[in-house]
């Protein structure tokens, strides 16, 4: 009987047969993949790298890189109260977000702790798309009480591609999407593709010239093929997350549950973060109507109870300092490096670090990082001098040049 019961239960749980879903572009990624190095991104199979992470990085900075962002969590928020709803949900003033514009924003719980950050697309007067790292449907639905708004998850239904790099516009132009020429950073437009339309925005996670494309799942592969064919002459290359991660650190962007722990995900009471503690204070708009966490954030500012601060560091030498401890005067523990690389483009050893105030706020000098480099079963311990520097670590004129360059 036990066996029969177990078998019955197994049969009722078919979802465990596919613990990792494949994205709409998986067939194309798998065909290009030579490394078989996959990780899980929001339940989807996603590549660390496809062939050579270094070449993939340089595709971002020198030609055009194609990155599958389909696993990114996407919510469609529409209805007469959509603007008012999102204005209460998120930190920035949504009234100032024009149709066909995108802005980076974040949202908090009642205690002012960041639940996630993401991009908000205004597709129409009453039609928005919110893209982020983690799932938030219960929070979004509970937030809808008192608003006339329709909220639906469209992560699976909508496929996404990021096309980033100096020739990304050339690729789009060659693919027949030349109309994106007039797009300034954070503009978006809708263009026909097959029998559907594709939303193309001048956005990205690289600090480079680049675009993001959203298309219904059923037309994912034809869109990929259209770009791929057009991109052949412009050095297009499919990339994995390792390359993108280097570019985003150079651009100074933070990753939820990488550089900070989201309030819903934190198991330990002191791991949650307010916007001001992760460099997002500029998103908080005290003059706009009420928003979640407003009381708590303003009280923390007033009472000076903010405990942490996020800083950019430049570290001497060329050894990446990922997850290294940060010290003040080589002695007092001041925080941790959440992301660090040797920047191939800036030619600097850069890092993003979370420091415990007053380190980073009051005491900004005499900071050190302790790097442990494992070399043939022996740790080499290095104390390297670190300097707080502004983010982004890399500024590229082509990122915002309009009209965009062709190479």
């Amino acid at each position: 009987m036990t066996t029969i019961f177990a078998e019955g239960r197994r049969a009722a749980q078919t979802h465990i047969l596919t613990p990792r879903l494949e994205t709409p572009f998986h067939a194309r990624l798998a065909a290009l993949d030579t490394l078989n190095e996959w990780y899980t991104w929001s339940g989807c199979k996603a590549p660390h790298a496809l062939s050579d992470p270094e070449l993939e990085y340089f595709a971002i900075r020198s030609t055009a890189a194609l990155f599958d962002i389909s696993p990114m969590v996407k919510y469609r928020i529409a209805g007469p109260d959509a603007e008012r709803y999102l204005n209460r949900l998120t930190l920035r003033d949504v009234r100032r977000l024009a149709v066909n514009r995108v802005h980076y924003t974040a949202w908090c719980d009642d205690h002012g702790h960041v639940l996630d950050d993401g991009t908000l697309f205004r597709l129409g007067e009453t039609d928005f798309r919110l893209c982020c790292q983690e799932r938030h449907l219960p929070w979004l639905l509970d937030s809808a009480f008192g608003f006339s708004v329709d909220i639906r998850e469209e992560t699976e239904a909508v496929a996404g591609l990021a096309l980033q790099g100096p020739t990304s516009f050339a690729v789009l132009a060659a693919a027949g999407f030349g109309d994106v020429q007039q797009l300034k950073p954070f503009d978006s437009t809708t263009l026909p593709h097959d029998d559907v339309s594709v939303t193309i925005s001048r956005t990205g996670f690289t600090g480079d010239l680049g675009y993001e494309l959203f298309v219904p799942r059923a037309r994912a592969l034809s869109l990929w093929d259209r770009l791929w064919t057009a991109g052949a002459a412009h050095g297009i290359r499919a990339i994995g997350y390792d390359a993108l991660n280097q570019a985003r650190i150079e651009a100074g962007f933070i990753v939820a549950n990488g550089d900070f722990i989201t309030a819903d995900g934190a198991l330990r009471a002191d791991r949650v973060r307010m916007p001001d503690e992760i460099g997002l204070d500029w998103l908080v708009d005290p003059d706009k109507p009420h928003f979640n966490g407003r009381n708590a954030i303003l009280a923390a500012r007033r009472n000076q109870t903010l405990k942490n601060i996020l800083v950019g560091l430049e570290i001497e030498g060329n050894i990446p300092a990922e997850h290294a401890l940060v010290y003040h005067r080589r002695k007092h523990e001041a925080g941790i490096v959440t992301a660090g690389i040797w920047s191939p483009t800036a030619k600097r050893n850069i890092a993003i670090a979370s420091l415990e105030r007053p380190y980073g706020s009051l005491y900004k000098d005499d900071l050190w990082v302790e790097i442990y480099a494992l070399r043939e079963l022996k740790y080499q311990k290095m104390m390297k001098r670190a300097k707080i520097v502004p983010r982004p670590f890399l500024r590229l004129a082509r990122r915002s040049a309009t009209p965009p360059g062709l190479r």
Binding site: S143, F145, N295
Partner: protein, 525 residues
């Protein structure tokens, strides 16, 4: 009533709701020199204390049956002019056998109708419960303690409670901690043998609460009852001079004598809030009235889910507020009788008190079971009074009114109250007929108010007179919810002062009076 035709465009304080808590808060604030306007949706002030003509010539005297927790200091402080000089009213438990148990004095200082051994057992339990309730009573008159940044006052409060507990030795302290969250059935079983006494305690512990006597923590309801006192007697109960109908006018006079302006027939449509600060109200007729302090003496859910735009509150706050359990379980039956009925076994000198029709604890528990599944009790338990005995004006000469609070009658009845109401009424009348044979012939009119009717009649969401369950998760620092548990709320300038605020429901005047004192002391959330 001072209801001048033109209102000022601004007041220091606007109180929403002229229930007794709203009037108590208004009176206290006006006595402190604030200009106070009370806005009431109904035609007259008094909230659930207001009676109504339920049949030509017959009036009810409001929802409450007796007075057992009106705070003497609050009443004195707001200048409540109410004669409570009469002796305490008894409670009689009738099981239908004709053998009554009568609790006399304050909650059975003397018990009649049981064996000497049973009476002794009851006295021991009574003494213990009243001692334990006295420990809890210390928290009634002050805002619940803060959980972040405990104040010296809070520490003093806890210390006093701890010392009070230890005063009688460690054994008593241990027993208090053991019993605090127990169910009333287990406690009653420990002490008592008489089914009627156990049934009475079970009824008193659960009346107005969605719990059966065997539900965990059901003893809290009895503690709450025993934290009340009348004339310094814990557990005492009275019917004031002139009956319960005298209460609403007394509270109104207290407020008006303090200089409060009361405006009836004026429902509030919106509390005006911008970026976390309340600035006034908008009435349903479109008038904006400004005030820096808004005291909401109505249901917390009505306040924050309706009057304040949800966009002005945080999502988690709204979530907690929506999860506040506030579905009533008590129905109210008013009977118009052409003569005083005879309940078998009821002593004549106990008629003016409280009569509880209950056979046993099991009956209360069994009556609760269907309520869990959205059905009314086929064999309900009820508390009866004859309001016209204290206030003959409620009935025509020779006539009499009977009022019963009956449970369980769930707000969300599965079959719907439209068809459920006649069926439930028949059960009630049959039950009364068993206890008072022939009463059916003397009924001139019967009016049953289900929780849905109570909701409509008294603007009381869920028909729940406590404005939210009186259970462990909605008490003290969590009443009505943690983020609004100290009268102040996340909206600066907006305060809660109804039964939904600490300490809870009943005619105590404490939520209103406490809120007003807290505001005058410069309240912080």
């Amino acid at each position: 009533m001072k209801s001048s035709d033109t209102l000022q465009s601004s007041y220091d304080v606007i109180v929403i709701g002229a229930g007794h808590n709203g009037l108590a808060a208004a009176a206290k604030l006006a006595k402190a020199g604030r200009s106070v306007l009370v806005l009431e949706a109904a035609a007259e002030p008094g909230g659930a204390l207001v009676g109504r003509e339920f049949s030509p010539g017959y009036r009810s005297a409001g929802l409450g049956h007796i007075l057992n927790r009106l705070d003497a200091e609050a009443a004195r402080d707001i200048g409540l002019d109410l004669a409570v000089g009469r002796s305490l009213a008894p409670t009689t438990a009738l099981d239908g056998s004709g053998r009554a148990v009568v609790l006399r004095g304050a909650y059975g200082e003397e018990v009649e109708g049981v064996s000497a051994a049973d009476a002794d057992a009851f006295y021991r339990l009574r003494k213990k419960l009243i001692f334990q309730a006295a420990v809890l009573k210390r928290f009634l008159r002050r805002p619940p303690p803060r959980l972040d940044g405990v104040s010296p006052g809070d520490i003093a409060g806890f210390a006093a409670a701890g010392l009070g507990l230890l005063r009688k030795g460690r054994g008593e302290a241990r027993d208090f901690l053991r019993m605090l969250l127990m169910n009333v059935a287990d406690v009653a079983d420990e002490y008592l043998a008489d089914d009627r006494l156990k049934g009475l305690l079970a009824f008193d512990a659960t009346l107005g609460i969605h719990l059966g006597p065997r539900s965990p923590t059901s003893l809290l309801g009895l503690y709450y009852r025993l934290t009340g006192e009348i004339s310094g007697k814990p557990g005492g109960q009275i019917v004031p001079e002139g009956g319960m109908a005298a209460l609403a006018p007394a509270f109104r006079r207290a407020a008006e004598n303090a200089g409060v302006t009361i405006r009836c027939n004026t429902p509030v449509a919106r509390v005006l809030v911008d970026r976390g600060r309340a600035s006034g109200v908008l009435t349903e007729d479109g008038t904006e009235i400004a005030a820096t302090v808004i005291v909401s003496a109505i249901h917390p859910q009505k306040t924050f889910l309706d009057l304040v735009d949800p966009a002005e509150s945080d999502t988690g706050f709204i979530r907690s507020m929506r999860n506040l359990r506030s579905h009533g379980n008590v129905a109210r039956l008013d009977l118009a009788l052409d003569r005083l009925p005879t309940f078998s076994g009821l002593p004549a000198d106990a008629r003016h008190g409280r009569i509880v029709l209950v056979r046993s604890m099991e009956q209360v528990e069994t009556a609760f079971n269907p309520a869990k599944y959205g059905e009314f009790s086929p064999d309900p338990v009820m508390e009866i009074t004859f309001p016209s005995l204290a206030d003959p004006s409620l009935a025509p000469p020779g006539g009499c009114t009977l009022s019963a609070l009956v449970q369980y009658a769930p707000y969300r009845l599965k079959q719907g109250w439209e068809s459920g109401k006649p069926a439930f009424l028949k059960i009630l009348l049959d039950t009364l007929e068993q206890h008072a044979p022939g009463i059916g012939w003397s009924i001139a009119a019967a009016d049953l108010m289900t929780p849905v009717d109570i909701e409509r009649e008294y603007n009381l969401p869920g028909g729940h007179w406590h404005h939210g369950e009186l259970q462990a998760d909605h008490l003290l620092v969590n009443r009505p919810i943690n983020a609004a548990s100290r009268y102040a709320t996340p909206v600066e300038g907006l305060y809660l002062a109804s039964a939904g605020a600490h300490p809870g429901g009943g005619i105590s005047a404490l939520p209103g009076w406490n809120a007003a004192r807290h505001i005058l002391a410069g309240a912080t959330p």
